[in-house]
Amino acid sequence: MSAAGMTGRWRSALLTPTGLAALAGMAVLLFLVVLGPVIWGDISTTTNPAALSQKPSATHPFGTDAGGRDVFARTMTAARLSVLMALAASAMGVLGGALLGALPSVLPRPLGRAILAGVNFALAFPGLLITVVLSVVFGQGVLGAVFAIGLAILPAYARLTSTLAASVGGRDFVAAARVLGVSRAGMLLRHIMPNIAAPLIVNASVTAGGALTAFAGLSYLGLGVQQPEFDWGRMLNEGLLKIFVNPATALAPGIAVVVSGIIFTMVGETIARATGVTRTFSDKLPRLRPREISAVLTIEDNNAVLQVRGLQIAAPGRSRWAELVRGVSFDVGRGELVGLVGESGSGKSMTCMAVAQLADHPLHVSAQSIRFDGQEIYRGTAPAGSRRAVSRLLGTRLAMVFQDPMSSLNPSLRVGGQVAEPGFLHGGLSRRAAWHKAVRLLGQVQIADPERRAKQHPHELSGGMRQRAMIAMGLMGNPALIIADEPTTALDVTVQREVLTVLHRVHRETGSAVLMISHDMAVITGFCTRVMVMYRGRIVEDISTEDLVAGNARHPYTRALLAAVPTLETERSVPMPTIADGEDFDTDLRFDLEHRFAARRQSTADKDAIEREGAHA
């Protein structure tokens, strides 16, 4: 990173409210540490028998303590000892811990392991307990307290360092340095330490804040600073004894501890921002409005199960909205098998999520209209009609099968219960009846011994079984449309076939339509009768599978996509045609709706023929 970028980051980190407060707080602390005892030292130790335990007044803003000494002056004076002890103990713990944590990566392995084992043993105990034990050994007083707290910090810091060092040690550039023969010590100093310095420094600052309160606690218990010396903890101890006489004697040191603790935390946060340990986002995005489209289309084709008009999806980027889907319109006929292909990021999954109303915040979905099963479910920027009715419709008539069967089922719940759920949520079945139906459906999707499988958890099933269980779950309702989002991508080839066969059987037996998303041309052309190609958020091709296979695709992107699919006749000596990363296709070459819907009607006519082919593909 350039020096200019560095200073820029520091400047922008310091110019936040936190940064400015941290800076001001540090200045105040520094002032008190250097000048506090000089200015208030004498007053703070002057006893005044005439003014014992007085309440706050103009001369004593926080009153006086049991010896008649001014509490405010004592608090200001105690800053030096309190802060310096915290810094000394932190320095001890941080440096010692960093050294101890870094050693395992340069020492011989057994030795390194022994160190880590010791660190882990110490970490099993809370720091406070270690501090108390050490204070027995070191005795009470300033030095003893610094050692006790410094050594108690050490193990946690050693572990942090070794964890960070190990994570950096696994990265590529370290591996490269190792191959180049850099010594382990050199590796540590040149390659590992610079990369873990930032989080270590940030944590050091937080540690100092923790040490400050730890000292207050220790002195409060009477195990830290002893009279006649005093720090904030000692003052808290004395103040709490007098809390009914003059509560301000406890309040002043209490405020001092809390405020200094917050200052150290804010310093840590500012350093974290400046060094990039935490990232800052700007979340000021322009309000997004659905693009006005002059003529609202009248949808006359009532034979369609799904009709999408003018669907747009946007996601918030760093400074502006990114349009992921830019005005998509399509139909899916009843009982039709439609494929939606395109490269990743083309918006195909997004489109289906929006149709199912599962596109979650922060995605912004707008559409002229989405009709499903004869009912409008989305208009403008919100679901249309009553929420309950839409939920019920989608819950019973729309089934979803997702890409990754490993993660689509809830790992904590039994498979049967998950499959049965839609039955008693929307189907009006009792739990028992729903369970029986679930078992029956599991059998129907070719899961052997469904009775036993239903009682198992997802991790006890194979990937193919889980995907078929997902299909069974969809069948609990009476689906008019199954949206299958890359249902076979995560599965191996033989299992792919099983799942596709089950899906096809379901389609044949229940007459439900299937909208299958895939980037796999072979799967799509084998299964679907019509294919839509998505490219950069638009549908650029809508064609029957027959025409597609016959080479009648009109859009250059579709042709490029097809050319990239190898067949048995592909010449192996010639490099495979690919679509380059930067390659641009014209997205404006779109089909007008009339043309596309005419093409679709024709394709439905040939459906049966292709379907037979598809089953054998």
Binding site: F121, F125, P126, G127, L128, L129, V132, S135, V136, V137, G139, Q140, G210, T213, A214, A216, G217, Y220, G222, L223, L240, I243, P247, A250, G254, V257, V258, G261, I262, D283, P316, A356, L358, D360, H361, P362, S391, L394, G395, F402, Q403, D404, M406, S407, S408, L409, N410, P411, S412, L413, Q418, E421, L425, H426, P458, H459, E460, G463, M470, M473
Partner: protein, 333 residues
């Protein structure tokens, strides 16, 4: 690897515990526990030996006569060879007779027996309160702020809980004493007498832990809520409460319980301070008193008891984790 079972990569499968994993886990973890206890006892023993100067003299008043010092040296067993002392220390602990408290003039085991229940009560009550509040709060915060919505609320929750979580129990305790002793005297601020006396000590111990745990619950819940199976659940269009309690909550429990167990460990340490603030007659207050009085036999025994409690909690958490999530039993092998 974290305890949650959600993995976005399709290649990760939930490994199942091998048939012989349980005995192996029991031997490994049990052995680790016993070794830790042995180290703990050794450290407690060495604690006395490492004190600079003469512990016997330190435990007496500065004006004590040489005869008194000699007597105390004998009483503490410091005139014996190191190995003999070490064996005697072990024997005392194992036979439940670790010696005589100097300051309280009664057997150490009697002191522990009379003070332990107060501390255990305090700790258990605090854990229940922490779990009962932190889990719903964390889950609610996650549900309200998932996917980057309600940035303002997220910021408020994060900074407020971060601030509270980083405030040490003892400062919260001092604040509570200040508030209730001075301004609103509703609650007794010292002693252990009647249900009302539990309120402030439990509050002092639990407020920070609630903030810390609810942050963890929220972070874990954000992961769970953005997982594929929650999308499946959303696809079933179920009531909101069912979605969160039936589908999300069970997946949070493993990590929450692990963290709660770890908090329990540091909470045990927190009792040392909180008991001193509220004059709670438990082990923590006794430990502090014994150290200030240089009552070394009592301090040594209490260090062993406190350490053993922490080690037992860690063991219990690991066993619980192994039961909830069998994969964790094989993760180290």
């Amino acid at each position: 690897m974290t305890a949650t079972a959600i993995s976005p990569t399709p290649t990760t499968t939930r490994a199942q515990a091998a048939p012989n994993a349980w005995p192996r886990f029991a031997i490994r973890r049990g052995g680790q526990f016993l070794v830790s206890i042995a180290i703990l006892i050794t450290v407690a023993f060495l604690m006395l030996q490492m004190i600079p100067g003469d512990p016997a003299r330190q435990s007496l008043s500065p004006t004590a006569s040489p005869d008194q010092v000699a007597e105390r040296t004998q009483e503490l067993g410091l005139d014996q060879p190191l190995a003999t002392q070490y064996l005697a220390f072990w024997k005392g602990l194992l036979t439940g007779d670790p010696g005589q408290s100097i300051s309280l003039r009664m057997p150490v085991e009697d002191v522990i027996a009379s003070r332990l229940p107060a501390t255990v009560e305090l700790a258990l009550l605090t854990v229940l309160v922490v779990l009962a509040i932190a889990i719903p709060v964390g889950l609610l915060a996650a549900a309200l702020t998932k996917g980057g919505r309600r940035r303002g609320l997220e910021l408020t929750f994060n900074s407020a809980s971060g601030l509270i979580a980083s405030a040490p129990e003892f400062l919260i305790g001092v604040g509570l004493v200040y508030l209730f002793a001075v301004n609103v005297p509703w609650m007794p601020v010292a002693g252990r007498s009647g249900p009302a006396s539990y309120v402030l000590p439990v509050a002092a111990l639990s407020i920070g832990a609630i903030a810390a745990l609810s942050r963890i619950v929220r972070a874990e819940a954000m992961d769970v809520l953005s997982s594929d199976f929650m999308r499946t659940a959303a696809g079933k269009r179920m009531p909101v409460l069912r979605k969160y309690l039936r589908h999300a909550l069970p997946n949070l429990m493993t990590s929450t319980m692990t963290n709660a167990g770890l908090f329990l460990g540091s909470l045990i340490a927190g009792t040392v301070l909180v008991e001193s603030i509220f004059a709670w007659p438990g082990l923590g207050m006794t430990l502090v008193q014994s150290i200030r009085a240089k009552d070394f036999p009592l301090a040594q025994a209490l260090v062993v008891v406190y350490g053993a409690i922490v080690l037992m909690i860690n063991l219990a958490v690991d066993v619980l984790l192994a039961v909830l999530d069998p994969r964790s039993t094989i993760k180290d092998s």
